[in-house]
Symmetry: C2
Subunit: 354 residues, 2 copies
């Protein structure tokens, strides 16, 4: 039976990417050697790294605009730290939209003062704060574009007078944006880009080099840029599979094409949530994420029936995060509209049974 | 034609590991889902992580001795930093045996004083210093067990009065040692353990928690231990493939069995280097590494002939590092004795041609 993988990440990847990645583990491009056995300094791997970096900038429309793309290790969690080490001299402003924003704030606090420009904590983060000020004397402004746990998403980004840093781990490459508004964009690969194990960091070079501290080598964006994202041995499998996924996206027509699909999927699930009296959406409507739809089943007595039906339909990974409860349908780029249709049918069938 | 992969790392892996890893990228254990698509919090992946951690301790003989095994990201280069952040309060002693030891020293210097207990720099690191003192008032002593670039290896470790930290990236799981002499052992996976993208860290828990600084979460061994090596999304493919490689080693008979093989391979290449007048070993004999044999071709005029012969024999990755020149035969666990035989035949044939 076909599985419908709604996991919040690691998550569904395009089938053709899985096929090619699997083949490369046995034999990379008929070289007689496995992708994971060759030197990362070999031409074959250097080409892969360069292609992945170029594709990232191309898809984001950032070629020739002073940006560099890096594929690093350590997840977005390491970026919480690297951003502060590379940019924080006196004070930074953070938008608090939930769990991951909080983690970013806590890491940065080790190094200097952090000011929360706004927070939606009082409503368990079911909305995105708006209309806040970003003080222009600060070093940078940090926000989280999409909040997987709460199912909220920033629709309009502020015009920041200081470098804007954005954790786009869970919605990068899913929608068109003016990416040149950002000083740094970072994203763990394991949602829209590839397997866990690498993190894309897109940096505008001219915002670097302004702090007085000595930055440890592995934490220093300039060192990674200077060595072509190969300061040390890169995570070759994760980078290769990310390159394949970016190639897949480019062949589909890029971000604009996938955005159309993502919007169709989101409209389908949200209209079911709104029309079906058994379910209730968690996030306020205007801030609903097109990547993660969070909702609860109003009648707890139907829980067992619903979950049996989900299982029978081959639906996987729909459990909500413990801080919200209920369900979360993660609909990343590689999840097909068909999978969302199957889920919506189950929800609708539950209504007819109830 | 069969390739003989002498790469210094990433390097040759067992064929059965490549087969299983490739299959898991398509479908993990007939689950209908790819290894890289499932949640890292799923039972399937938690079991993989726990098995990998347990196998590491079992193979090292460290079960029940107060150690924890972690699979982290960022390579040994990140460990240079983490060791200092977690252990360095006032001063540490480092043994300087080459390029990687130097990198470890430079990262630690950001945080406090570092004292070189001994160095073989004056001889371009062609030997391992011996007979040095380790001051007992220091926080820890750091050494590098095997120096890939120079082809030297520590044969007898000192009895350190303070926690001994060892970078075993290039010879872990290759020879029997009393691993309980060490406070921390770390190793990038890409030599004897798996693909690039994860780093094994084995920590004796009771040496932690003694520094006064606030350690960033991702740099804190205690945080990683507390969350079962899943503080954030782990590099699932690299951890799974490492688990497969450790399983392969266990089935072979563990470290003692592979050590016998490794010694055969080393004896074979070094006796050719010593007997064949065309070649000269770089490292002093008593400190020769069983993992990386470094040597030069004395007659530069034969270089082209030799390299053509290597290519024709399917030998890959034999170039020496630029700081030593010449050749380097890396003979990690998964490289077969047959591959070394092929290399030695080519060397011997060159002599008969010359």
């Amino acid at each position: 039976m076909k599985k419908h993988n709604f996991s919040a990440g690691p998550c569904v990847l395009p089938q053709e990417v899985l096929q090619k990645a699997s083949q490369a583990v046995l034999d990379l491009d008929h070289s007689g050697l496995s992708l994971i056995e060759i030197s990362h300094r070999s031409k074959a791997f250097v080409d892969i790294m360069e292609k992945a970096r170029a594709l990232a900038l191309e898809l984001l429309g950032l070629e020739g605009k002073g940006y560099k793309a890096l594929f690093l290790q350590g997840g977005a969690s390491t970026q919480f730290l690297m951003v502060a080490l590379n940019l924080l001299e006196k004070r930074a402003g953070y938008l608090n939209t939930g769990t991951w924003a909080n983690k970013a704030i806590n890491e940065a606090k080790i190094y200097d003062d952090i000011y929360e420009v706004a927070s939606s904590k009082e409503a368990n983060y079911n909305y995105i704060p708006k209309g806040y000020d970003i003080p222009e004397e600060y070093d940078y402004f940090h926000c989280t574009s999409n909040n997987t746990i709460f199912g909220t998403q920033i629709k309009a980004f502020p015009d920041s007078p200081i470098p804007m840093v954005c954790d786009m781990s869970s919605d990068i490459f899913s929608r068109t944006l003016d990416f040149s508004k950002f000083g740094i964009i970072y994203a763990g690969a394991q949602k829209n880009m590839g397997p866990a194990g690498t993190t894309l960091v897109v940096v505008k070079e001219d915002i670097l080099g302004k702090v007085s501290r000595k930055i440890p080598s592995m934490m220093d964006y300039k060192k990674h840029i200077g060595s072509g994202s190969m300061f040390n041995t890169p995570p070759v499998f994760a980078v290769y599979t990310s390159m394949l996924t970016l190639e897949w996206l480019k062949n589909l027509g890029g971000i604009a094409a996938i955005e159309e699909e993502n919007e169709k999927k989101a409209r389908l699930i949200y209209s079911e949530i709104d029309l079906n009296p058994l379910f209730k959406g968690f996030a306020v409507k205007e801030d609903r994420s097109i990547m993660n739809a969070t909702f609860t089943l109003e009648n707890e007595n139907l829980k067992e029936t619903f979950e049996t039906m989900l299982k029978e339909a081959g639906i996987n990974g729909l459990n909500g995060h413990r801080s919200v409860g209920g369900y979360r349908a993660s609909m990343y780029n590689a999840l097909s509209l068909d999978s969302v249709k199957v889920l919506v049918e189950v929800m609708s069938e539950l209504e007819s049974k109830a």
